[in-house]
Amino acid sequence: MTILVTGILLGGTYALIAMGLTLQYGVARIMNLANGETFVAACFIAFWLFTAYHINPLLGLLVIAPLAFVVNGAIYWFLLKPLVDRAKNRGQLEVDSILATFGLLFLLQGLMILGFGGAYFSYTFLAERFVILGSAYGLNRVVAFAVAAIIAAALYVYLFHTRQGTAVRAVAVDPTSANLVAIDVARTAMIAFALGGALTACGGALLSTFYTFNASMGVVFTMKALIIVIMGGVGDVRGAVIAAMVLGITETAVATLIDPGLTLAATYALFILVLMVRPQGIFGRQQS
């Protein structure tokens, strides 16, 4: 039971970064391997705001999310859109965007290592007991999960109940057809990419409240997010949430029952299982 709750609480943060990635890949068609760096950068900004200015990380989100939105939007518009325009087919865009985002990954990671070194950082925020069903959990984890849930709900409303959100979903299904019904595909893709970055940054800022982080852990989170996205079905926000919970629970179970050093092995086992059984994702439809 403890495992289940801890896993779900962890899954909340994973859900945010995975939703960010699924928007970026599903709508903007960019497999953003530098997503984890946005995540880690948000950890550091939250840390810096909290330690230097005593700004509550939850309020810090109001700074971090718009900042990530703008930066990611600019990255898409100036760096990645030329690749989209240049690519002759989907396969080439995939290779190009993977290589370009690798470049960003190393560049950003290099800059952060230069700035902060390889040390681990953490700060104390709401480190109090919080009792759920007779067992105690860190209040910061519970709060992080609650905030993640609110953000996820807001995203759901945006995607399914607003005009612009519908446009985003239309581009995810088919960019060419979306263009035919007068949707500005390039602009929508940029918004989706920027929004994905903002969601990821929120995930990072929330994670930093209860997790020790360092400058070079971005890749690990990108990996996890990728696996969640593939498990949940590319571009599928609901699938990403459920897959994030599954991953959170599996990781916690393996870490507590077998060995904390084997969490990635557990993630991979899940990944292989998904690739073998349902490569189109939990809710995904069979592609022709």
Partner: protein, 323 residues
């Protein structure tokens, strides 16, 4: 296409001369230049083996570190029980098996899954190795003591590179090579002409993986003390991708053009500005995508085409990925 063309003979002669020159190097220098040449040879072997698979298929494989580490570990685990050449063979087979499993799981579906999967593969194998080591043997590292010295390693790597080249050349002349060319150009067409695309890709990936495993096994005596983080260093995978793409992957010798300058550059950067390695790698990736999408050799070929602009094109070079 069974007989050797004059160009193939010419390339063969030039290659033999270069190999002979490199093989003689240990007799002139045993210090810095030998060690640098070993590094260059290592990456030459790795990049060529990588290009064997990733060149024609355009799949970006990041599994290099995993295969390499498996080769290293094969030697580390068996050095007290079996002779070194046997262990090199074991490393090759083990790496090929891993490649087969990974290929079977991912090469049937889209290329992105393949990249994602190989991205974490080295880390996965590393975790499994560290876990089983601490669980069953209770120590973290392995000692490899042999009388193999730096120059023997250079010769072995040189021989390996030659074998990789010969294999690549033979594959290009075989049915498998023809199948790969069609797959690289258009996978749907390949499927419709009766090619078992998944089988062809998996086979090629296994060949490439086996060679990388051998390279890892050869390097084991150089490390002397083998630990999971150094044997499964993910940087190897990324450096191989950068160097190969920098040189260009259309020709099998293309990666060499990237290997030599970049190995020297990384050597300088990691000794003088160790904190800037990541930044250099990031810039290299971005430069490849935005400035040299077909690598240096691709750019040179482009220039040559432009010079010949007025003449009628002599049998067009297969243009798979125009800039």
């Amino acid at each position: 296409m069974t007989r050797l063309t004059t160009e193939e003979i010419r390339i063969g002669v030039i290659g033999a001369v270069v190999v002979a020159l490199v093989a003689l190097l240990p007799f002139f220098d045993n210090g810095f230049y030998l060690s640098l040449t070993v590094n260059i040879m290592l990456y030459a072997a790795l990049c060529t083996a990588w290009t064997l698979f990733s060149g024609p298929t355009h799949y970006v494989s990041l599994a290099t570190a995993a295969f390499f580490g498996i080769g290293t570990y094969a030697v580390g685990l068996g050095i007290d029980h079996l002779p070194f050449p046997v262990l090199v063979g074991v490393g090759a087979v083990a790496a090929a098996l891993l490649a087969g499993i990974v290929g079977a799981a991912t090469l049937r579906i889209s290329g992105v899954y393949f990249v994602v999967f190989t991205l974490g593969l080295a880390e996965l194998v590393r975790q499994l190795v560290s876990w089983s080591q601490s669980k069953f043997t209770g120590r973290m590292g392995l000692y490899v003591f042999t009388d193999i010295r730096e120059m023997h390693i250079l010769w072995m790597l040189l021989a390996l590179t030659v074998v990789v080249f010969l294999t690549g050349w033979l594959i290009n002349r075989s049915r498998l090579g023809f199948a790969m060319e069609i797959i690289g150009n258009d996978e749907t067409v390949a499927k419709h002409s009766g090619i078992d695309t998944a089988r062809a890709k998996i086979l090629l990936f296994m060949i490439s993986g086996a060679f990388i495993g051998i390279a890892g096994a050869i390097m084991a005596p150089r490390y002397a003390y083998i630990q999971p983080p150094s044997a499964f260093n993910p940087m190897i995978s990324f450096l191989v991708v950068i160097m190969a793409l920098l040189g260009g992957t259309k020709r099998l010798w293309g990666p060499l053009v990237g290997v030599i300058p970049f190995t020297i550059l990384m050597d300088i950067v990691s000794s003088r500005f160790p904190n800037h390695t990541y930044i250099v790698m990031g810039i290299a990736f971005l430069a490849i995508v935005y400035l040299l999408p077909n690598g240096v050799t691709g750019r040179l070929e482009q220039l040559r085409e432009r010079l010949r602009h007025r003449q009628p094109k002599p049998e067009a070079v297969s243009e798979e990925k125009p800039a």
